[in-house]
């Protein structure tokens, strides 16, 4: 990745974060914390990694992305909108009664959404089914799924991991957003999922641990995944919940709460400052 490319990604990620803030503010509800922690990954996936076509969202040969932690729909929607799947101006209609932007991803209403998710633990199984189905039909398309570190407390996740390794799904990448917080507090205190990397390794994954806010590391991990044969890859990324909005960072309270008008203004001001600096204004 050239420095210019990296800067472009950082700029996009900042815009995606603004989209998350605008969407949850407009909805007066939703999940900004985990959307912001995964914003860099959303950005890299939709602007660099995924072979997708915003003009033809259901194109058969596309790579698939399943947001297993479906409550962070604002992050996915913001990335999709900025990638051109639908107007960015629609983001603040999130969760409104007449909006197609449902509170959790709906594959039948939102262009670019590959699977309806929201009930934790199910998305990864669906991603396994997609990878299995694509492999069975000799497709070269790849499947990516993003899980929360709280989500992996769901038993079904481990059923899915077993199946992914059993069927040697080297076209599948499982990403765990390890921001360390869930609704009730620290994941380690609520019901510790640690060691996450060790567990995934024991379940038959090729594993990579990265800083989820570092585009060089994100790129290296996703490229490495493409070289792995005969087993799925898991990327465990350490992140900061609420990343880039000062009052939200590392606060479990911002898991599922929308910013009010003043908080919205402050967040947008902070993100605008980052954006201006990136753009050299």
């Amino acid at each position: 990745m050239t420095p210019v490319e990296k800067k472009q990604l950082e700029i996009q990620a900042c815009k995606v974060r603004m989209g998350i803030i605008d969407a949850t503010h407009g909805a007066k509800a939703g999940h900004p914390g985990g959307s912001l922690s995964a914003a860099d990954m959303f950005t890299y996936l939709y602007f660099k990694e995924l072979n997708v076509d915003p003009k033809n969202p259901k194109w058969e040969g596309r790579d698939r992305f399943v947001l297993s932690k479906g409550h962070t729909a604002p992050g996915l929607y913001a990335a999709l909108a900025h990638r051109g799947f639908f107007p960015v101006e629609d983001l603040p209609t999130l969760r409104h009664i007449d909006s197609y932007l449902q509170g959790h991803p709906n594959m039948n209403t939102v262009p670019g959404v590959d699977m309806s998710t929201g009930s934790l633990g199910q998305g990864i199984s669906v991603a396994v089914g997609m990878a299995l189905g694509l492999k069975h039909q000799n497709s070269t398309a790849r499947v990516y799924t993003l899980l929360g570190d709280g989500e992996i407390q769901e038993g079904q996740v481990w059923e899915a991991c077993m199946a992914a390794a059993h069927y040697k799904l080297d076209n599948l990448v499982v990403i765990v957003d390890n921001n360390g917080l869930q609704i009730d507090g620290n994941v380690a205190d609520v019901m510790s999922p640690y060691p996450i990397v060790g567990k995934l390794e024991a379940f038959g994954f090729h594993t990579v641990a990265i800083d989820g806010h570092n585009f060089d590391q994100i790129e290296a991990a996703l490229n490495e995944a493409k070289t792995v044969k005969g087993q799925p890859t898991a990327i465990v990324m350490k992140t900061v919940k609420g990343k880039c909005v000062s009052y939200m960072e590392n606060k479990a309270g911002w898991h599922g709460k929308a910013p009010n008008d003043a908080e919205h203004e402050q967040a947008i001001n902070e993100l605008t400052a980052i954006l201006n600096e990136l753009e050299g204004k």
Binding site: M115, S116, G129, E159, A160, Y167
Partner: protein, 312 residues
Amino acid sequence: MADVKKIATRDSYGKALAALGAEHENLVVLDADLAGATKTATFQKAFPQRHFDCGIAEANMICVAAGMATTGLVPFASTFAMFAAGRAYEQVRNSIGYPHLNVKIGATHGGISVGEDGASHQCCEDFALMRTIPGMVVMSPADDVEAQAMVKAAYEHEGPVYIRFGRAAVPVIHEEGAPFQIGKGEVLKDGTDVAIIANGLLTYEAVVAAEELAKDGINAMVINMGTIKPLDEELVLEAARKCGKIITAEEHSVIGGLGEAVCSVLSEKLPTPVKRIGVNDEFGHSGPAAALLKAFGLSSEHIVEVAKEMCK
């Protein structure tokens, strides 16, 4: 009805899958370590590359099937009714029903005729659970011929389908190649005094009951209602208009199944006296299937008794 051939509808399921699989490359089958019991092994033997064992992990299997459906395959996901409709209910609702994916659920070992395994495996709630999911087709075949026709119809139908098959061998009452259409009931015998609306293995019992009732001068109509959802409301209303009295009979709880579906239609559109025959809000227990069915009143004798009482 003497000396009729008996076949378990789970056998019909395996046979129908293998036959359809030969015609359609995109048909795949998933099982959860029960291929021998659900009879998907019949398909597996013919098409090993298209049979995916998911191990004892039904929740995952249901969602894997959903994922496969998004890639253009037509998955039939199979396990016992207890685990398909029961354990994996929420996976069926959220990952198949809500996105309206083209997954077929072939659930075997429905009802108390599971027998010796006892209550833990005797699912009498699956119609109720599956009926509540918007867009879900729910079916229960009366015999081998109807079961095979339902599998074919399910493949041809775009959208989620749940079919319940039985473990025990049941009499074959249809001619080979009898027509079947999703959402259409079938009048097996016309009548004027009482209409018996049944499905699954109770359909045969209803036919036998009608013969018995005829001896006492009671002219019973018999309807085989293979599709519970969408229900053939027109036929239910026609039966009510003709007979003025309805009996429903199913190997399912009286709560939430065919009986309640029929009652809902009638109470809103044509209030008619109804007696529901089914499992009466209780769990089953171990025993031979035939003895259990008698003990729980899922028999021609009990239908006759109820009909006579209604026709007094």
